[in-house]
Subunit: 435 residues, 4 copies
Amino acid sequence: MNKQGLKIAVIGGGSSYTPELVEGLIKGYNDMPISELWLVDIEEGKHKLDIVGNLAKRMVRKAGIPMEVHLTLNRREAIKGADFVSTQMRVGLLDARKLDEHIPIRHGVVGQETTGPGGMFKALRTIPVILDICRDIEELAPNAWMLNFTNPAGMVTEAVTKYSKVKTVGLCNSPINFKKFLAEVYEVDESRVLPEFVGINHLHWVTSALVDGEEKLPEILAGEREYSAKNVPTVGWDNEFLRSLGAVPTYYLKYYYMMNEMYAEMKESLEKNGTRADVVSRVEKELFELYKDEALEEKPKQLEQRGGAYYSEAAVKLMRSLYKGSNDIQTLNVPNGGVFDFLPEDASIEINCIVTGEGPVPIMPTHVPEHVKGLLHAVKSYESTAIDAAVTGDRGLALQAMAHHPLVPSVTVGKAILDEMLEAHKKHLPQFFNN
Amino acid sequence: MNKQGLKIAVIGGGSSYTPELVEGLIKGYNDMPISELWLVDIEEGKHKLDIVGNLAKRMVRKAGIPMEVHLTLNRREAIKGADFVSTQMRVGLLDARKLDEHIPIRHGVVGQETTGPGGMFKALRTIPVILDICRDIEELAPNAWMLNFTNPAGMVTEAVTKYSKVKTVGLCNSPINFKKFLAEVYEVDESRVLPEFVGINHLHWVTSALVDGEEKLPEILAGEREYSAKNVPTVGWDNEFLRSLGAVPTYYLKYYYMMNEMYAEMKESLEKNGTRADVVSRVEKELFELYKDEALEEKPKQLEQRGGAYYSEAAVKLMRSLYKGSNDIQTLNVPNGGVFDFLPEDASIEINCIVTGEGPVPIMPTHVPEHVKGLLHAVKSYESTAIDAAVTGDRGLALQAMAHHPLVPSVTVGKAILDEMLEAHKKHLPQFFNN
Amino acid sequence: MNKQGLKIAVIGGGSSYTPELVEGLIKGYNDMPISELWLVDIEEGKHKLDIVGNLAKRMVRKAGIPMEVHLTLNRREAIKGADFVSTQMRVGLLDARKLDEHIPIRHGVVGQETTGPGGMFKALRTIPVILDICRDIEELAPNAWMLNFTNPAGMVTEAVTKYSKVKTVGLCNSPINFKKFLAEVYEVDESRVLPEFVGINHLHWVTSALVDGEEKLPEILAGEREYSAKNVPTVGWDNEFLRSLGAVPTYYLKYYYMMNEMYAEMKESLEKNGTRADVVSRVEKELFELYKDEALEEKPKQLEQRGGAYYSEAAVKLMRSLYKGSNDIQTLNVPNGGVFDFLPEDASIEINCIVTGEGPVPIMPTHVPEHVKGLLHAVKSYESTAIDAAVTGDRGLALQAMAHHPLVPSVTVGKAILDEMLEAHKKHLPQFFNN
Amino acid sequence: MNKQGLKIAVIGGGSSYTPELVEGLIKGYNDMPISELWLVDIEEGKHKLDIVGNLAKRMVRKAGIPMEVHLTLNRREAIKGADFVSTQMRVGLLDARKLDEHIPIRHGVVGQETTGPGGMFKALRTIPVILDICRDIEELAPNAWMLNFTNPAGMVTEAVTKYSKVKTVGLCNSPINFKKFLAEVYEVDESRVLPEFVGINHLHWVTSALVDGEEKLPEILAGEREYSAKNVPTVGWDNEFLRSLGAVPTYYLKYYYMMNEMYAEMKESLEKNGTRADVVSRVEKELFELYKDEALEEKPKQLEQRGGAYYSEAAVKLMRSLYKGSNDIQTLNVPNGGVFDFLPEDASIEINCIVTGEGPVPIMPTHVPEHVKGLLHAVKSYESTAIDAAVTGDRGLALQAMAHHPLVPSVTVGKAILDEMLEAHKKHLPQFFNN
């Protein structure tokens, strides 16, 4: 790495999240001096890039640090010689997300951005674009680390690992949120808690929760403590189920363990307020209005409602540890290696790691509940098949991925969804229509 | 083994299937001389045992072979010194099966004897009884082979392997049926075909179909041949799906791949004709009427409608190969060992084996489709958890098994079914109500 | 395959073994009609090729079958469209073998053609040549099976599997010899015995010996039977050791388990009679004198002294089973897959297989003694490293292979042997001297 | 744990090492308050226990901390309610060690305390005694951690894991020494270096050496730095070998990679000075003379010559991290789990771990050289077999262990050593002579 001053390229730099990342980089400047921050976006995003980029410049100026902020549509220029490339993009923008959410629901299936048929189509659209970026990184910044926030983060990261030489780590804010919850409940500093995450992105189980070395999980599962904490991860679950499970499932597991209820809720909500895409669309509009204000020189409070809390913190922590070789523990999406002996070696998993200067190194999980292995494997089988479909444009593989997704109730339904979604997203899926 | 003459004990000897087995033993007598055949049943089955047992005696007498047929309610006497013990039983009889089929359907879930909540409860009732029999075998016939036909055959066999020292093999007629289908379509002798089965009992995929060493699977999947064969295993499937799957799924996989359709069909059929249990009940009544006829000295044609074609052939073939050390290929339920590296070593799998005099030895599968591994693992995770629940009577484990069954759409539904079925089968589930 | 008539290419067709193979092909003609037999050799072997090829023609003529025998130095012509390609070659001829045997002995290490530094150098010389042949097969006969007899057969076969697309099987006569021994001792037909082989080429253990389904191994290990059989595989071993080992080691394991004694014997023998290469050299000379005799129309008895008994039988059996899809059991060198979970998936192992029309399929071993796993793994580590050295010409890899060979007592000794042998074989090791 | 004040029992408390441990406990008192330190020994060690125990009392008194020091021959009393039990013992004392070193050398084999036949016999004598202690711990202090320093530490730890329920960790000072070397060479604090250890006790390879996140291993292997450090771990190795190995082997690997040279050196040294046991015997005598001095109130400088530098530091660090749940990285002997997929799950390995309050958790290794796997597995096979021999007293298993040890050149030699050593150590090996 450029020990004098790092170069960071942010693909999808016009995102409404960018001020959060910039804030993090400013706060961490002393530990990790960044001399160049490149915000890149595509033509359609130029307007947003200008707004958010100018806010970033004002924030840096106010902080009084020598970090150059560059705004560009030239991806290759941004990537060239970078130490870190972060990606946060949405191929097809919110319109595509809307389709991902609406179409499955019409067929009686969960419609969601990162799981189910919606997540699958986000992957089909995104993976070819990401791999195209990887070609640039391989050529122009072969030693760079790619930090991937783009959802479905696990699948995208796995695709990069399998189909490129780029060094990559996938990131999600869910683990850091649980850690903060744990610290808050037990009123200790985050450094004194160690939750154990077992699984893959958006499908993990917390199987241990140490506070000063003591196991607090049974207490948490039993709901024996009064929580002042926000975002309590056990709310909404059947407590008897949690106790015999012996783990806290991530929120996203509700799509599996409470499929009926989640579907009903989604359907009702869609009828009332539209889907999550519609909500986000409104929030973003408001945010960009705020960002335009030339007097604004810091991240506005309202950004927190956008969701994605602590994404920036997670990203900055990771970059710093890679830069300094901190050997601290972070929860990341990395290749399985031999961690889970029932999953392929190149599968992306979400797991506690030591972050050395050479990259994240998994810590072996201490508890892997026997009864969740099958579900974990089932989702991973779907993911791996979908990734191959994304890369090859093979319709048969796409059908297999869809038919084997645990949320899809039959081949017939899966096929109907597949047909409709392929057609709806045609513009962004050239690999399926090129011959 | 007693090379002079074998002793066979048939637990559940009063079953309507018994004449088929007796026919097989008579036909195979030259290769495998049986001197004693013990038909055992419980008090409630005495009436049926007498009827079917007397038919068996008439059959043997007519054949003119020196095979003693014993009818008894004394299980230990029957087991003592046996070379083979076969089990074919239904704890709770057809009434219990009716509950297994009806209750889940009421909750919107497939109601079936061997899979879903119905199969789970059949396992919960059966496993303790089978393990009790194993205690007798360990003591009275430690070298005997137990041939297990009792459904769910995979789970029952796995329970015996895990919780006893009895040497056991699980048997299903589904593989032998496919083999016969293949031979019929290609108009060759069975000895010239070699289908490959990958999976577990009632959840396997045929991943190769060699005829005289040539791979015929693509042809079969494409439906390119006119079949005169009965029971064509590709009928009712989406052909595009089969082709991209690259395998013929067993009929039972329709409960997974076509869950919606199968549920709808079951529900409708239940309203019209009652469930399968009701049908079987009627057929059995008729069969026993026939069996009573003192003039009857052979297996009546009508038995074939009962289902379970070739069960007897499968059983006799297995016994003979174990007896003679034939080293021929049969498809059996055996412990996984390292065959599938993503399943536990002690999991029961259904796989092609060489049958030596020391037992079946798995042949490595040549094709294991990546995209089915997850589903296979998911069902196995459920099975292993359910087996442990059956042995321990732990309600939490039962809930975990139910909640992780791929056909159960949510924890809430699973719990409701669990509660209702535990109560309904209370009499046959002492392990759950003893403390 | 060409079901009308097969084409076979024999690389190294001028070998003194060829008449044995020809005899086998003639005997098996009814089951497997061969229309073309191509014997290929290199320029230096032309003289021998002519002699042995003419004998082959006389043998075929006498048999009165329509099999064309072609003699050629044009390898590509021979390979083109072949159904089977067999390889039996010695790069550097017997002179090179002499060096393989002499040099290590001078350094205090076993000097042998297939194991130790000698075997390693045979592999280093042979693998590039074999891979060159593979290039031709990939282009000119992509569906052909390559039957590899060339020693060290396990390493050569592994190299082909790893570095080419050619379908290959490695063959050794050691398993078939044990099978014949077993049948002879128990006075039954070979079809009634089933020994189990666990390990890799020239490093296997017989861990079970079934005769009509009964385990005879304890009896054999205890030496409880009087053998009239020749080549008794337990002779020369410490019986107490064999009993606690619970397996019959292959003869080649004496180089490991009785290293001191074998070394001493070799050294003494070398001083008296020269090495095995010297003996073979004399025998071959005599054989070719016999072959020249125009009156000779069959394989001469004296060929049996040459060693390699039943090689031809093994080869013909394998070809026939691949051709017909016999699904019979043969012991072959194939990729490990998941058979031994402690060895790499692409490692070549020697194991009982079912031979289908699509190739050999391993049968899972039933007994793998814990205490031999390490030795097996140690030799395999050496082999894999040596194969990579052969392909890359990387001297560092060659040093690692040598240093990790269990028969090499120290890095210093290994390095001295490496230096001397690289120099001595320089002509045949261009990959190590090209830059 | 007793958060108010811990109880520690030191089995073999009369060891000359004890003052070092006591010093460590005193220094770490603030972080980890120990209220009771029990030094236990056997009758034959009472004299030493008194001397060293009184020194310990003087040291504690001088430190002015409220730690009670108890001296006892009553092991059960010492263990009762302990939080930590450490073991450092030598069954048969130095006389037995002398035999372990002398006998193999007479047979031409390395004679060493922890590897080869000597290490094996130390294990055979020690394991039953350790398991006896475990019985006490299971009963009297079921939650205690056993810290095992007793050599061969890997084997003893594995035996405890396999044959008891005691929570145990094995400890060696070799990793901490390498870490200190690395910090010294690069002139940084130990907290900034992270060497990676791959292997088992006394048989590991350092496969990465990060300093502030940068990989320094190539530099170290190439000998490119001038070291002021003592105990340079690359001295005495062939540099070409190290470079192609890509790892720094532990000193103990010289017994394997440089067997000839090490044997020669040992033999010569034995003739001149006796073995290591003789040297240690003299050093210990001198140490106890010093310890007797009532004026001595601290660990004397001379103890450092005894060897075993930093043992105490390693022990105290481990106890503190278990006590506080520090989640820091330490190199420990723990069960393999799935870390090395080619070794049994219950094999003891030496690996970097996170030390949580629930115990050490392995970090996955990032580099495992393919070519060393076999040697590692070979030694582990020997170890596991020897452990089973120690527990069962099965002479056949002992012979298998001996015959499969890579340093034993033949079964004949192994058997001769086995016979002689069994006889020589008869008194301490009742399990082999009881029937």
